[in-house]
Amino acid sequence: MHNIYVYIIIMAAVTYLIRALPLTLIRRHIDNRFIRSFLYYVPFVTLSVMTFPSIITATESPIAAAVAFVVAVALAWLGKSLFVVSVSACVVVFILELII
């Protein structure tokens, strides 16, 4: 029988090392233009991939999520703050799921 606390410690150790090694070991400013460009694009790709299509299946109603997605993109495009965009998406889902 495996000990649940050992599982938890192993998970925590592996996850922490994944996070800590690059940040603690890469201490210099990287001059290579390709690597700098690569790292510049990483957040945009990662966040976009994580958002879509996952957002559609995150809620009870996919339609509500799709509308929330469009509303959030529109508000962000208009330069609304992160707080406004995020809360608006929640409100849209809440209201639409009341109706649908």
Partner: protein, 228 residues
């Protein structure tokens, strides 16, 4: 701190559902809360419940966490270029604990040098949100209406959108990258064969391939990469 509020809300909602799942997997309140406090990661923790339930080997647990959470090392590499090069080891070591999808998103969105204290502020709202949500999820079970949890679950996605869209308006290449990434992600989710790839790997593969190709085709000038 306003930026941190959606993180707190989103974490509370997601970890609440994690708490319910942990309760259904017969974890105690203490075990589930400890797991959330020490791991601070959603996909990895959800996956761990299946592994614990199956009483799989410790190696399998380590390998699964490595695969699901490997994306954090890419994020951590990006952040390494945003912090002051003279930042001492202990700040880096503490900040590392807070490299989650959401804190990374906010950290990457900072215009100039990323201060460790900005990260600590985020962590000060993320860690209690995540841990408390788990605690209440296990203790209370299904007490919150599903509709509320459903609405709150888009908070984090709304945040990601608020981070990638404004730079897309200023920079056509970034706009293309965002659109291409979402399209590719959708294809990888629904097409046969590639949809077998786990979500953790999907994120890593697409991030590495798309970022590398775009970096080759459209290398950034030093000036604009300070706006990252």
């Amino acid at each position: 701190m306003r930026d941190a509020f959606p993180v707190f809300l989103g974490y509370l909602a997601v970890s609440f559902t994690f708490g319910i799942a942990a309760r259904n997997s017969d974890l105690t309140v203490f075990q589930a809360t400890l797991m959330s406090l020490l791991n601070l990661t959603s996909a990895g923790q959800f996956a761990s419940l299946g592994i614990i339930a199956a009483s799989a080997s410790y190696f399998e647990m380590a390998a699964t966490q490595l695969i699901i959470n490997l994306r954090y090392s890419l994020m951590s590499s990006t952040l390494s270029q945003k912090v002051d090069t003279k930042l001492p080891f202990f700040h880096r070591a503490i900040m590392s604990f807070g490299v989650t999808d959401e804190i990374f998103a906010l950290g990457a969105g900072v215009h100039d040098t990323l201060s460790p204290f900005y990260c600590y502020g985020m962590m000060a709202s993320a860690i209690p949100g995540w841990t408390l949500g788990t605690f209440f999820g296990v203790v209370l079970g299904n007490i919150l209406p599903d509709r509320l949890l459903s609405a709150l679950s888009v908070a984090l996605y709304g945040m990601f959108i608020a981070i990638v869209i404004p730079p897309s308006r200023r920079n056509k290449v970034v706009a293309g990258v965002v659109a291409l990434s979402m399209l590719a992600s959708a294809l990888f989710t629904y097409l046969p064969v590639v949809s077998q790839i786990s979500s953790g790997f999907r994120i890593i593969i697409l991030t590495v391939v798309i970022s590398a190709v775009v970096a080759l085709l459209f290398p950034v000038e030093d000036k604009e990469d300070e706006n990252a």
